[in-house]
C-alpha cells in the first residue's frame, strides 16, 4: 500500500480498540518471567560462553595480546581475536571496529573473546589476558577541538542552513541574547545489556539477540561477517530497553557469531555492565551557542544556533541545531552544525538525537529572552509560533498544536501562580520555581510490512519483524488488527522480532509505532479483501464488526471465513506524496515545578506536566508510559546524568550504574500527561505520529528554567549538580 494522499475515513476511526487505554498484552509474560530475553534462551544444547577482553587504553596499538596463560586456563575452548577472525567488514553505522586490534580506537574496545565451557571460566580466563600496548596521543576534550571542526549534515539535511540575514538581523535587534550552553556525554543505560546467543547450522547463522531493527541487524551482520543476508536469522522478541543504543550491531553479536563458528557450538555473549559505557555508544556532548534577537513587541527577528560535537572518524555529529530549524518563526536565521574528531568511544543515536539536547539550549535561551523582554515565557513562545516550516515557508505542518499545548498546560499547571521574579517563593528550606519549555520532535516514518493470518475460530495472528523495546508495540499492533478485523483484542496473537516475518520499520526515531501499525493496517486491508473474495462480498461494502462479517446481504461469523482454511493478508506500507509535502512533527509543552534546598542546592522535582500533540494516540496507557519515561530521562540529563571524561586516559570514568546516576524513583514526582489526541489524516492511515521521543525534548529546558525561577541562578553547563549550583545560590536568610 502506498500512502500518498490524506487518509479518508477508515475502520481505525471507529475507535473501538485503537485509542483505548489498554494495558500491554505482553505484561503478564514479563511479570511472570515468561518473556524470553536474549540471554535467556536456555534451550540451546551444548552452549558455550564468551567473555569480552576489552582494551585498557583509549588509543594506540596492541603489540601483543599475550594470550598464553588464558589459552590453557581451565574450561577455555578458544580465543577469538582480530588475527584469527578472518577479514571483517565494516557496516555503515559503526564508526569503530567491533573487534579491534592491533589498532585500538577507543577505551574498552573489544580485542578478544574468550570462549569457554562456562561463563565463570571465560571470565576468569579473560582476566588473565594483560596485553602489551603502545599508547598513542588522542583528543578527548571537545572544547579543545572545536576549532578544527567541519560542517556535518544531519540525517540527510544540510549541516548549515541560513535564511534572510542573520548577522544583520541580530546586530540590529533591540533585545539580544548570546549565550553558550554545554551538555555532557550521556549514556543510554538501558536495563538489559547487549546480549547474544549465536548458533550455526552449516552456513546459516541464527542470533538470539537484543536489537531494535531486525532488518538492520541482518544487513549489518551480513556486511561485517561477509555472508549473504538471507543466511542470517535474527530472533529478538523482547528487548529490555534500547533508546537507540540497539539500532546497530554491537560487539556481542559479532563476537558470538565468530565464537560459535570457530567451535561449532552455540555461544552466548553478554556485555558486562562495566563495559556498557565505553565499549558501546553514547550521546555525544555538545557545546551550543544561541543567539536570539527580538523586538520589544516580543517578535523574534533573528535566531542563530551553532552546535559542536565530536566523534571518532566516520562517526556522526549530535545535530542539536536541528531543534531550532522548525520551531519558532524569525525572518533571519542561521544554524551551523560542527563536528570535530575525538578519540572517545563512539557517539551514536540516543533517544531524540540532536533534538533532546538541542531543545535544552533553545528553550533556556527562550527563557532568558522572555525575561529580558519582560514577557511571560508562555506568551513569548506563543507570540513566535508559526504554522509553516520557518526554513521552508512553502511547507505547512501537517499538524501543529504547539499553542494549544502551551495554553492547555499553563491552565492545568496553574502557571499564573508563577512569580516572574526569581527566588521569590520559599517554603521552609525550599526555594520553589516553575519552568516551561516547548517540545518538538520530527515524526519520520519508514516502510513497514506485516502478515496477518485469519485462522480457525476467527482468531487472528499478526507477524512482523517489528520489535517491542518495552514501548508497547505488541499491544498497539494487536489493537490495530483487532480494530481492522472487528474482533476483541484477545482474539489476536502478535508475533514480533523475528526475521522470518515481513520486514518492518523496527523501533527507533519514534517512527516505530506509526510505521509498524500502518504496515499492519495495510496487511489487514489485504486480508479483508481476501475474506471478501472468499465470501463473495463486495470489498467496498464489507464490514468487520463484533466478530461478524456483513455486506452484500450476508451476515456471517469471522470464524466461518476461515473454515475453508487459513487466509493471509501480507503487505508493506510505503510513504510518499503528502508525507513529503508537509513538515511532519509532534509538539508538546512541558511544565515543571522544582524545589531547591536553600542550604545545599539540592534540586528536587515537585511536579511535572507534559501536554502532547502527536496525532491519534493509539493507546493512551502505553503512550503515557513512553512520555513519562522520556520526561524522566530528560530530567536526568540536566540533573544528574553525565559521562565524565578523564582526558588523561581518554575514557568515561563512571562506567557503572552506581556511578552514572540516572534518576531513581525518589527523584520523580507525580507526572501528568495530557494528550490532545486529534487524528492527523496527513500522517498515515493510522492518523498517528510517534510519541516515544517527544517527551524527552524540551523537558530539560523546563527543569533548568524552573531552577532559575527558584534560585535566580542560571546554569548553562549541564547537568546542574550541587557542585555547580551551590556557589550561585542566594545566601540563606
Amino acid at each position: 500500500m502506498k500512502f500518498e494522499t490524506a487518509a479518508g475515513d477508515n475502520p481505525i476511526d471507529r475507535g473501538k480498540v485503537v485509542g483505548r487505554a489498554t494495558p500491554r498484552i505482553d505484561g503478564p509474560l514479563k511479570v511472570a518471567g515468561h518473556a524470553t530475553y536474549a540471554a535467556e534462551w536456555h534451550d540451546q544444547s551444548n552452549l558455550a560462553h564468551g567473555y569480552i577482553v576489552a582494551s585498557a587504553i583509549a588509543k594506540g596499538r596492541v603489540n601483543s595480546l599475550r594470550l598464553e596463560e588464558a589459552k590453557w586456563a581451565p574450561g577455555v575452548i578458544t580465543i577469538i581475536t582480530a588475527q584469527n577472525a578472518g577479514t571483517l567488514g565494516q557496516a555503515g553505522p559503526n564508526a569503530a571496529k567491533l573487534l579491534g586490534g592491533p589498532e585500538v580506537q577507543h577505551y574498552h574496545q573489544a580485542l578478544a573473546l574468550v570462549v569457554a565451557d562456562s561463563y565463570e571460566a571465560a571470565r576468569a580466563a579473560a582476566a588473565l589476558i594483560k596485553p602489551d600496548y603502545t599508547r598513542a596521543d588522542g583528543s578527548y576534550t571537545l572544547a579543545a577541538v572545536t576549532g578544527a571542526s567541519k560542517s556535518d549534515g544531519i540525517l540527510g539535511q544540510p549541516g548549515d542552513t541560513a535564511l534572510g540575514d542573520f548577522a544583520g538581523g541580530f546586530a540590529g535587534a533591540p533585545v539580544q541574547i548570546d549565550a553558550t550552553y554545554t551538555t555532557p556525554d550521556l549514556a543510554h543505560a538501558m536495563m538489559e545489556p547487549y546480549a547474544t546467543i549465536a548458533s550455526w547450522d552449516g552456513d546459516r547463522l541464527t542470533l538470539h539477540t537484543s536489537h531494535q531493527v531486525v532488518d538492520w541487524a541482518r544487513r549489518d551482520l551480513a556486511k561485517t561477517l561477509g555472508m549473504p543476508k538471507d543466511h542470517i536469522r535474527i530472533v529478538t522478541p523482547y528487548i529490555g530497553g534500547g533508546f537507540g543504543g540497539k539500532l546497530w550491531v554491537r560487539a556481542d553479536a559479532v563476537l558470538a557469531a565468530l565464537g560459535a563458528k570457530a567451535i561449532g557450538r552455540p555461544v552466548k555473549v553478554v556485555m558486562p555492565r562495566p563495559l556498557m559505557f565505553n565499549n558501546s555508544v553514547h550521546r555525544p556532548a555538545t557545546i551550543q551557542r544561541m543567539r536570539l534577537g527580538a523586538g520589544h513587541d516580543g517578535a523574534l527577528i533573528a535566531i542563530g544556533h551553532e552546535g559542536w560535537s565530536g566523534n571518532l572518524p566516520g562517526g556522526d555529529s549530535e545535530g542539536a541545531v536541528q531543534f531550532s530549524r522548525g520551531l519558532y518563526a524569525a525572518p533571519n536565521r542561521m544554524t551551523r552544525n560542527r563536528l570535530s574528531q575525538l578519540d572517545l568511544p563512539e557517539g551514536n543515536a540516543m533517544r531524540a538525537p540532536g533534538e533532546a539536547v538541542g531543545s535544552i539550549a533553545v528553550e533556556v535561551a527562550m527563557d532568558e529572552m522572555a525575561e529580558k523582554l519582560g514577557m511571560d515565557p508562555v506568551a513569548f513562545r506563543i507570540r513566535n509560533d508559526t504554522q509553516v516550516d520557518p526554513e521552508h515557508k512553502e511547507k505547512k505542518f501537517s499538524q501543529r498544536q504547539l499553542v494549544e499545548c502551551l495554553q492547555t498546560g499553563a491552565r492545568k499547571f496553574g502557571w499564573d501562580r508563577r512569580n516572574a521574579r526569581p527566588a521569590s517563593r520559599r517554603e521552609g528550606d525550599w526555594l520553589i520555581g516553575m519552568g516551561v519549555a516547548a517540545a518538538m520532535r520530527g515524526s519520520p516514518v519508514l516502510r513497514s510490512g506485516a502478515r496477518v493470518r485469519l485462522v480457525a475460530g476467527g482468531r487472528v495472528i499478526v507477524e512482523t519483524d517489528m520489535t517491542d523495546i518495552g514501548t508497547g508495540s505488541y499491544t498497539i499492533i494487536g489493537q490495530t488488527a483487532a480494530e481492522m478485523l472487528g474482533v476483541p483484542l484477545n482474539w489476536v496473537t502478535v508475533r514480533l522480532g523475528d526475521s522470518n516475518f515481513p520486514v518492518s520499520s523496527g523501533s527507533g526515531g519514534q517512527f516505530g509505532a506509526n510505521s509498524a501499525t500502518s504496515g499492519v493496517y495495510a496487511a489487514c486491508v489485504k486480508l479483508r479483501e481476501a475474506v471478501a473474495a472468499r465470501l463473495g462480498i463486495d470489498p467496498a461494502k464489507i464490514k468487520f464488526a463484533g466478530t461478524k462479517i456483513t455486506g452484500s446481504g450476508k451476515n456471517v461469523t469471522l470464524a466461518s471465513a476461515a473454515e475453508a482454511g487459513e487466509l493471509t493478508g501480507e503487505d508493506t506500507i510505503d510513504f510518499g506524496g503528502i508525507r513529503q509535502q508537509r513538515h511532519q512533527a509532534t509538539f508538546g509543552a512541558h511544565f515543571v515545578e522544582v524545589g531547591v534546598d536553600i542550604h545545599t542546592a539540592e534540586i528536587r522535582l515537585r511536579r511535572m506536566l507534559a501536554v502532547c500533540s502527536a496525532g491519534r494516540i493509539l493507546n493512551p496507557t502505553t503512550a503515557r508510559s513512553q512520555v513519562i519515561g522520556a520526561m524522566t530521562m530528560g530530567a536526568g540529563s540536566v540533573l544528574c546524568e553525565e559521562l565524565v571524561v578523564d582526558p588523561r586516559f581518554g575514557y568515561f570514568v563512571n562506567h557503572d550504574l552506581a556511578q552514572y546516576e540516572v534518576p531513581v524513583h525518589a527523584d520523580i514526582p507525580h507526572q501528568e500527561v495530557i494528550f490532545l489526541k486529534d487524528p492527523d489524516p496527513e500522517s498515515s492511515p493510522m492518523k498517528a505520529h510517534g510519541i516515544g521521543e517527544l517527551g524527552i525534548c524540551g523537558v530539560g529546558g523546563a527543569v533548568a528554567n524552573a531552577v532559575y525561577n527558584a534560585t535566580g541562578a542560571r546554569l548553562r553547563a549541564f547537568p546542574m549538580t550541587v557542585d555547580k549550583l551551590l556557589e550561585h545560590m542566594p545566601v540563606p536568610g
Binding site: D429, T600, V644, Q659, E661, D667, V722, D723, L726
Partner: protein, 321 residues
C-alpha cells in the same frame, strides 16, 4: 572473578581459626561489597569463610548502660530496632540514608564498617590506584575527583570513605570489638578504627590486624540530645554522600548548649574533632573552620567546604527551631 574455595563456619572461634589456616582468605558477611570486588578482580581471595551462621546477630542492652550490636546484625534490623531508634536515632537515620532496602537487608554491621571506597579509579583495574595496587599511583589526583575527600588526604590517596553508618558511629563514640587469631579480644575506639592514608604504602584503611574479625560494636549509654543525619547528594536516594552531617545537639529550643558533630563524604575517614564539637555554640562557620583546618581541596571538590558549612548551618538551624 577468580576461582576460590568456600567454607561455612559455625562459631566465631572457627572463623578466626579458619582465617589463620588460610592465608589470604576473606570473611564474607552480606557480600554486598566483597562480591562486587571479586567479580571485578579488585579482590581475589583464594578462600572465602562464610560467617553468616556464627550468631553475633543480636542487639543487646549492656547492663549499666549502652548497647552491643553483633557484627552480623543486618543494617535493616539495626536501623529498625526500637531502642536504637529511640536512643541512638542518628545511627538509625544514617543507615537508612544509605544504599537501598535490598542492600541493607544483606549488609551487616561489620561489613559496613569495612566497606571500601567508591573511587572510580579503584573500581577499574586498568587504572593506577594505590589502594588497589600499591605503588601504581593515585589517578584521582589530576583526574576526576569531584566526589573525593578534602580532609585526611595524602599524596598516596584522596578517596572519600563512603559509609554513612560509620559517621553516626563516630559521633556516638562507638567501640569496635574484634577477636584475634587466638580468640583474644580487643576493643578499638571508632576514632581509631578508620585510618587516613599516610605517605607510605600500602594504604592502611582499617585498624584491623591480619586474622582479626569484628565481633561487635558497642555504644556508650544513650547520649540524649537531638539527633540528626543530613546527607547531601545529587539524586534523592541511592547515592553516596557528597557531604553528610551526623550531629547530636544538646538542649534545643534556644541557644545551643553544645553537642557533637561528625562529617561524612569529605574525609578519608569519618571526620570529627574536639575543636569542631567545641565550636558548635559559635555557629556553623566556626564549626566548619575548626573541622576543615588543614583541608586540602582540589579545584573540583573545593565546593565541599561551602557545602559542608551550609549543611552544618541547616542542621544547627533545625536544632534551634
Amino acid at each position: 572473578m577468580r576461582a576460590f574455595t568456600y567454607q561455612r563456619v559455625a562459631t566465631p572461634a572457627e572463623a578466626v581459626a579458619a582465617l589463620a589456616a588460610h592465608p589470604g582468605a576473606r570473611l564474607i558477611a552480606g557480600g554486598t561489597n566483597l562480591l562486587d570486588h571479586m567479580k571485578l578482580q579488585i579482590a581475589t581471595p583464594p578462600h572465602l569463610i562464610d560467617i553468616n551462621r556464627i550468631g553475633l546477630d543480636q542487639i543487646e542492652t549492656i547492663p549499666g548502660g549502652g548497647m552491643r550490636i553483633g557484627a552480623l546484625v543486618r543494617n535493616t534490623d539495626l536501623a529498625a530496632h526500637p531502642q536504637i531508634r529511640r536512643d541512638y536515632a542518628v545511627l538509625s537515620r544514617a543507615i537508612v540514608a544509605g544504599a537501598s532496602g535490598q542492600l541493607r537487608n544483606m549488609a551487616t554491621t561489620g561489613g559496613n564498617l569495612l566497606q571500601r571506597t567508591r573511587c572510580p579509579y579503584f573500581y577499574d583495574t586498568n587504572l593506577p590506584c594505590n589502594k588497589r595496587d600499591p605503588g601504581s599511583g593515585c589517578s584521582a589526583q589530576g583526574g576526576y575527583n569531584r566526589d573525593h575527600a578534602v580532609l585526611g588526604v595524602s599524596s598516596a590517596c584522596i578517596c572519600a570513605f563512603p559509609s554513612d553508618m560509620s559517621v553516626a558511629l563516630r559521633v556516638l563514640d562507638a567501640v569496635v570489638e574484634v577477636m584475634g587469631p587466638d580468640e583474644t579480644s580487643r576493643a578499638i575506639a571508632i576514632a581509631d578504627f578508620h585510618r587516613v592514608p599516610g605517605e607510605t604504602l600500602p594504604v592502611q584503611e582499617f585498624a584491623l590486624a591480619p586474622g582479626e574479625m569484628i565481633t561487635a560494636v558497642t555504644l556508650p549509654p544513650a547520649p540524649g540530645g537531638w539527633h540528626v543525619y543530613r546527607k547531601v547528594r545529587n539524586r534523592a536516594s541511592y547515592a553516596f554522600a557528597l557531604v553528610s552531617v551526623a550531629a547530636i545537639i544538646e538542649g534545643t529550643g534556644g541557644a545551643e548548649k553544645g553537642g557533637r558533630i561528625a562529617l561524612g563524604g569529605i574525609g578519608t575517614k569519618p571526620w570529627r574533632s574536639s575543636a569542631g564539637d567545641a565550636a558548635i555554640p559559635h555557629g556553623a562557620q566556626a564549626v566548619a573552620d575548626a573541622l576543615f583546618a588543614g583541608a586540602s581541596p582540589t579545584d573540583q571538590n573545593r565546593y565541599k567546604l561551602l557545602l559542608a558549612t551550609r549543611t552544618i548551618a541547616a542542621v544547627l538551624a533545625a536544632a534551634k527551631g
